[in-house]
């Protein structure tokens, strides 16, 4: 009984994650993979994701500091970032990284910078939300 409110809250949170577009169906897949054998699977994956993506973001930031932009490298980083983001179902983050890549391809340095800022914001939001969710 006590758990019900918590559960409900969790459900609400979860729903909002979806509604707000932070996560997509892939996240559901992660949840489905969670079972008795892997009780904390989703959390594990997400934690792993944080670690890895933080690293990539750092790389991108460093690359963006070097002018002129090395678009190829930036694109490669972003590709990686996009891959892992999509794996956990981070919808918004993924969308943003796609944009970033577009800018890279067209050599739009400005666009890259902007996109990256946006991406970082989304990323932070996601972390916060997911963090709360898992608590």
């Amino acid at each position: 009984m006590e758990r019900n409110p918590i559960r409900r809250q969790l459900a609400i949170m979860r729903q909002s994650l979806f509604d707000q577009g932070h996560v997509d169906e892939q996240f559901v897949q992660l949840e489905e993979l969670q079972d008795d054998a892997n009780p904390n699977f989703v959390e594990e994956v997400v934690t792993l994701y944080y670690r890895d993506s933080a690293r990539i973001i750092l790389n991108i930031e460093q690359a963006l500091e070097r002018k002129p932009f090395d678009f190829r490298k930036l694109d490669a980083y972003m590709h990686q970032f996009k891959g892992s983001s999509s794996s956990i179902g981070a919808k918004k983050v993924k969308a943003e990284s796609t944009l970033f890549r577009e800018c890279c391809k067209s050599g739009n340095g400005e666009g890259c910078m902007r996109s990256f800022q946006q991406l970082k914001k989304e990323y932070a939001t996601l972390r916060k939300k997911l963090g709360a969710y898992f608590q």
Binding site: Q26, L33, V45, H79, Q80, K82, G83, I88
Partner: protein
Amino acid sequence: MTVEQIVSEGKDQFPIGMRVLAVDDDPTCLLLLGTLLRRCQYHVTTTSQAKTALKMLRENKNKFDLVISDVHMPDMDGFKLLEHVGLEMDLPVIMLSANGDTKLVMKGITHGACDYLLKPVRIEELQNIWQHVVRRKKKDRCNSGSKDKPHPDSGEAAGIGNVDNNGKLNKKRKDQNEDEDDERDENGHDNEDPSAQKKPRVVWSVELHRKFVAAVNQLGIDKAVPKKILELMNVEKLTRENVASHLQKFRLYLKRISCVANQQANMAAALGTADSAYLRMGSMNGLGNFHTLAGSDQLHNAAFRSFPPSGVLGRLNTPAGLGIRGLPSPGTIQLGHVQNSGNPTNDLSKLQSFVPGNHNTNILQGMPMSLELDRLQHNKSVGHIGELPTTDSTTVFPGSGSLVDARITGFSNNPLLGVTSNSLMLEGSSQQATSHTSVSAIGFQNGNALSDFTSIAPASNQLQDSKADSQGQASPINCNAGQIIRSAPQEWNAPRKDAPYQSHASINSSFPINSAMIQLGQCLDRNNSIFHRTTDLDSVGPLNFVDPLSIKHSEGDNYIMEPSVIEKEGYLMFQPRPHGSHVPDNTGSLKDLASAMMKQVPTNLSVLLQEGDFGCNGYSLRTSI
């Protein structure tokens, strides 16, 4: 689903328990992938390093059934890994990437990927990946068993020169191949239960043929009756009818060889031309890359034509046998040697006398490139050497035309027994158009050829003793060719060149062998390397012809067999043991060669090579490419 569960289930409940190796530098994706796969009840191993993955795969090729790899990886490009795995382990590989660009997907497929998945990967997609494993397994089985059924067609089509013969041969070969394939999985499976199948063909493997020849020799060619032969052979599931038909073919082969030998004698004068031809051949063969040979099917034919069949034989022996994938080289060399020891000169002349355009060429041509030995296994027919008439080296199979035919058909039985003339014509059924199979198919068509060879080898041995003439030569050569061919088949693509032909030289006496070898080489080349051995013919060189050959051989692989070439020429004429006692030694060497070759040769080739042992000088490998 726990991993333990998966492990305990093993492979019997395929696809459950299928062993997958997952490679991805992104830890998130890797974890996800691994979990998904485990959810599908596969047995998963993950690694984030491509190099580690390769190491694991190399450690034990049978450890995994399938590999899934990311495209973008820091230490190694995913496509590169894909190539490596495909080449070395021949495992199905699935590419994985967040990038679904058509170009990338295309690249993946062209590099050999079985499938290309997009990230994020869903479990539904993973649930069906086992199909790739099954498909691959089936393909492999098909390939090894049926020696590329599709090829036989092409290979046959490629048959050398004698369209008719080839056509016939091809068809026959094809049938035989198919039959063989069915029966051959065990490679040694002589007969299928007659009652079980409509008409199971006996696969006259080298071993079997050798036994056959031994039995015939023991009884004496005149007294050899199927019943007694059968008893002597003491092989299960072999019926009297099988033996009878094989014997018939063998007899034809012997007759043919003797004709060739006779012609060779006549051709002595023609030697001069032959030399040049040989040279040509040699050069062709010598190219070592049988390709040349193969490519120059015409050349070969011509070359063969010009030079005495004997040369061909010589060539055949070496290249073919050797060519066969490089295997033979040791073997082939032996052949060459064997032959040379004989009466190189005699042989050579004989070889030369090989009807330049005649039989020899035919032989050569006829020699199905099956010599290509790749498929040599199939090439049994190559062993036709049997016909080697005891006549002087000329037996080389001048009647190549006839021989060829005979070979084609009779390969299975390989008159080899009669290899007295040593003119084993190894028919390199170059048919293997795709080169492997064809050669083998031709020569070995039914495996008989191969078996013939084996029988020839023994026969040649005998011949040597008795005939000292070229005969000895031929057989070795043949053996070589056979071997070459045999060896060739296996790898065809790569190896061939080297090893096989080197041995040609041994063919020495068998100048014809050279030709044969060449043919073999040619045929083999097609098939792959089978005929490389032909170059070995160089060794035959001593015979005189060999020189040209040697020249060629120096090239390396000796024409033999550039698989492509071989296919055409296919004829490896193994010079029948020089009648003129040319090759007394040669035969011995041939034997060695043959044995060497035989060893090398993978089952297929071995058959051919064995023939060589016989010292069938007149081995004419027909590579009917």
